[in-house]
Symmetry: C2
Subunit: 223 residues, 2 copies
Amino acid sequence: MKPKVSLVRSGTTVDQMVRAIADHIVTGELRPGEKLDEVTLAEKFNVSRTPIREALAQLGVMGLADRRPNRGAIVAVVTQEHLSSMFESMAELEGICARFSAERMTLGERKALESEHIASAQFVRDGAEEDYESYNTGFHTRLYEGAHSKHILEMVILTRSRLAPFRRAQFRLRGRLAKSWEEHDAIVTAIMRADGNVAGEAARAHVTLVSNASAVFASTKGL
Amino acid sequence: MKPKVSLVRSGTTVDQMVRAIADHIVTGELRPGEKLDEVTLAEKFNVSRTPIREALAQLGVMGLADRRPNRGAIVAVVTQEHLSSMFESMAELEGICARFSAERMTLGERKALESEHIASAQFVRDGAEEDYESYNTGFHTRLYEGAHSKHILEMVILTRSRLAPFRRAQFRLRGRLAKSWEEHDAIVTAIMRADGNVAGEAARAHVTLVSNASAVFASTKGL
DNA sequence: GGCATTAAGATTGCATACACTTTCTTAACA
DNA sequence: TGTTAAGAAAGTGTATGCAATCTTAATGCC
C-alpha cells in the first residue's frame, strides 16, 4: 500500500540512468562524439552494466546517442546537414504550434500568455538576459501546450532535447532581447486575434532566425 | 550461443527483436493492450529475456509499447485524443514534405514522381486496389524523401509506424481510388510548378481526409 | 456476504558470468 | 621502414540467477 519511497528514487534505475546521461549530454558535460563506455558509466553511477545498457539503447532511439553494434555508443554526432534539418523542423513545428494555439487556446491560456508576455517587457528594459531567457522558455512551452496536440508536443520535446547540445542561451539572446520581444509580440497579437496563419508564420520566422544564429555557432565550433 | 539463422535479418539480437516485435504490433498480430510477456516472447524467439527487455524498452521510447514499472509492458494503447493528434500531425508533416518537395526536389525526382503518378492512372481504371496501394505507399515515400530533410523524415517514419496498427489499407482506399488519384494529381501538379504553398495545402488536405476515415474506423472497433 | 489482510506464486529489475567481437600490441617479414 | 599477421587486451552481447515487486487467491474478521 505505502510504496516506500527511498530518497530521490523517481522511478526505475534505468529511467534514472536515462535522465542522468541525457542530462549530461544536453548540458554539454558530455560532448558530441565522446565515448559512452558502459563500465565507466556503471562505476560512475554505482550500478551494473545492465541498466546502463538499456539506457544507452533508449538514448539511441531518442537520437541523443549513436550506438554502433559491438563497438559501443558515443554521444550523437550530427552532421551539419542533419543539424540544419533539425532546426528547420523546429521552426516548422513551432509554426504549427502557434497556428494551433491561435485556433485552440482556451481563454485562460490566452490571457496567461498575454500577461506573461507583457510582463516580460520589463526584462527587456532592464536588459535582464537570464530572466528573459527563463521567460522565453516558458513562452515557447505555452505555445507547444496551447496547440493541444499530444503528438506534436512529443515531437517538439524530442527535437528540443536533440538540439539542446547545440544551443547556447547566451549566444542566442545576447543583444537581441528587444528584437526577440517584438517577434513574440507579433505572435501573441495574432494568437489573441485567433489568426492562425499569421501566428504560425510569425513563429516560424522567429525560430528560423534563432536557428541560423545557433547553426553558425555550431559550425564555428568545428563539431 | 550458436549463431541463429532465423526468419529475421541479421544484426544484433536486440535489433532483431525490436524489428520482430514492432512488426507484430504494426501488422496487428499483437493488438493494442495485449500483454508483452518477457518470458513468453523470449521462448517464442528462442532468446533470453535480456534482449527482449532491451527491445521492449526501445519500443517504449518509440511509442509502440507502454511500459509500466514492475508491471510489464503492453502494446501501446492510445486514447482517441492521442490517435487524433497523431493523424493530425501526419497531415501537417505531409504538408510540410510536399511544400519542401515542391521547392527542393531535383529534376530527376520530379520526373520520377510525375511518371509514376501518370502510370498509376491505369490502376484506377482497372480498379486494381492492391497495385494502387503499393504505388500509393511509394508516392508518399517520394514526398517524404523529396523534402530533403532528414529530421522530418525521421518524424514521419516514427509517426507512421505508430499509426500503422490503426490503419487498414482496404478501408482507406476502397471506393475512393479515383478521388485519391485526383488529390495526388493536385499535389504533383503543384510540385512540378514548384508551388510550395499549394502543394503543401493539397497534401495536408489529402491526408486529413484519409485520417478521418481511419479515425472512424478505429473508434468503431472500440479499441 | 463483503472487505481487508496476507501468504504463495508469478513476473520484473538488476547483477554477475561468460562468450564473442573489435581493437590494440607486437613482432616477423618483405 | 612500411605492412601485416597473430595474439592479447578491452569492451560489447547474451544468458542466467537472485532479490524485489506485483498479482492472486485464500483466509479471517466485521
